[in-house]
């Protein structure tokens, strides 16, 4: 897929574990794992907003477009 999720990069920069992020964002580990591994088909604005708030970043820092 052309949209790359750089969540693991941002988590490493913020030195935050998946467990901590899931607790602070309020979504399950399974869903966060789907997002991190790039299996997700869609992301809700509210989830994106919560992640950006916790990681103190912009949506563009998490999502990146690379043409196939």
């Amino acid at each position: 897929m052309a949209i790359i999720v750089n969540l693991d990069v941002m988590m490493a920069r913020r030195k935050m574990s998946l467990t901590e992020l899931s607790e602070r964002v309020g979504i399950t580990m399974a869903n966060l794992s789907i997002l991190k591994t790039g299996k997700a088909k869609a992301i809700r604005f509210e989830t994106l907003e919560a992640i950006c708030l916790v990681l103190n970043c912009q949506p563009g820092d998490i999502l990146e477009f690379i043409p196939d």
């Binding site: 869903n31 966060l32 789907i34 997700a40 088909k41 869609a42 809700r44």
Partner: protein, 340 residues
């Protein structure tokens, strides 16, 4: 009332086609002359009288003059005529046959040209012998491959021009049919109806309106075994389909509606229900290819095939529609599951 067309193209085509069909039927019945029907007066053709040439002997016994004595005697006579006709035609059913849908079956019948009702009833009620072959005489047994999908093109009302009757005499089968042609009687053009007897290679089961192909006893037993095996396989397959449907209902009750298994089950059931009637028609045409040497132009496909199978086609279409709906549901569910 405002008529609103559906936006779906196929639905519109079906509606328009249906309306056109009704209109065409109405016009063809009301004005048959437009389609070259019998009431044509375009050429100012004079009325042509019908003349019947029915000089062939009736194949059933004539009613005796004193038959009107009682209704009981009338019924007895009728019963006797029917039994004797069945014996002579080789369609007096003795049982022992197998049936595979409306495609293939077998029959074991009695055939006797000179036997009376008394002869038959003596054997049924007064003989101590349990072996049928000894009781009725093995020479009187006939074995047939029955083709329920094929029948004579007989008109069931009175004796119309299309009416065809089957009968047998001395073991030879005939069809009696009416041929209409124009001729002259006393300088007048008339339509002459000639009744002709045409020898045929098949026999006929009037009860089920099915063609019977004479065969040997061993051939009948071989076909019996094939039919039993095919029927067992078919029954197992239908059990598998039913179990699939029950599992689908159980999954629905558990709230597991849009799963890959359910989608596959619905597709299998829908396709099977649609393929079954198509297969029945295809097998009947295969039967025609195999036995076409026995058939004449008066043997036609049995209309019961359609009346027996249209419900199956309908249920199959419903299941395929359900399959489409559940497949779409599964797609949406998968998408929903992968939305974070």
């Amino acid at each position: 009332m405002k008529f609103k067309f559906n936006t779906n193209l196929i639905v519109n085509i079906v509606i328009i086609g249906y309306v056109l069909l009704i209109l065409a039927m109405y016009v063809s019945f009301s004005y048959p002359s437009l389609f070259g029907g019998s009431q044509s007066t375009v050429n100012n053709e004079p009325f042509i009288p019908n003349v019947s040439n029915n000089d062939l002997k009736a194949f059933d016994e004539e009613a005796p003059a004193n038959l009107t004595s009682s209704y009981y005697h009338y019924k007895q006579f009728n019963d006797s005529v029917k039994t004797i006709r069945e014996l002579r035609n080789g369609e007096y059913w003795m049982g022992g046959g197998q049936v595979f849908a409306s495609v293939l079956a077998t029959e074991e019948n009695l055939q006797c040209d000179t036997c009376s009702k008394k002869w038959l009833y003596d054997r049924v009620f007064n003989f101590k012998e349990h072996n049928d072959a000894k009781k009725y005489g093995i020479d009187h047994f006939r074995w047939y491959i029955k083709l329920p999908g094929w029948k004579l093109n007989d008109a069931r009302w009175a004796l119309g021009p299309d009416s065809i009757q089957f009968y047998a005499k001395g073991g030879q089968s005939f069809i009696r049919k009416i041929i209409v042609h124009r001729g002259k009687r006393k300088d007048t053009v008339v339509k002459i109806w000639n009744t002709v007897d045409q020898p045929v290679k098949f026999n006929y089961n009037h009860r089920d309106r099915a063609i019977l192909i004479p065969c040997s006893r061993s051939a009948k037993h071989a076909v019996d075994i094939i039919i039993i095996i095919v029927n067992i396989c078919l029954a197992l397959y239908f059990l598998y389909l039913i179990s699939g449907f029950l599992k689908f209902v159980l999954d629905l009750s558990k709230g597991l509606a849009f799963t890959g298994k359910n989608v596959r089950r619905l597709r299998l059931i829908g396709l099977s229900l649609l393929i079954y009637p198509v297969g029945i028609f295809a097998l009947n045409y295969l039967i025609w290819l195999i036995f076409h040497n026995y058939f004449t132009e008066d043997v036609v496909l049995n209309g019961n095939l359609w009346t027996n199978n249209w419900k199956t086609i309908g249920v199959g279409i419903v299941f395929l529609a359900l399959f489409k709906a559940f497949r779409q549901g599964k797609l949406l569910k998968d998408e929903q599951d992968l939305t974070v």
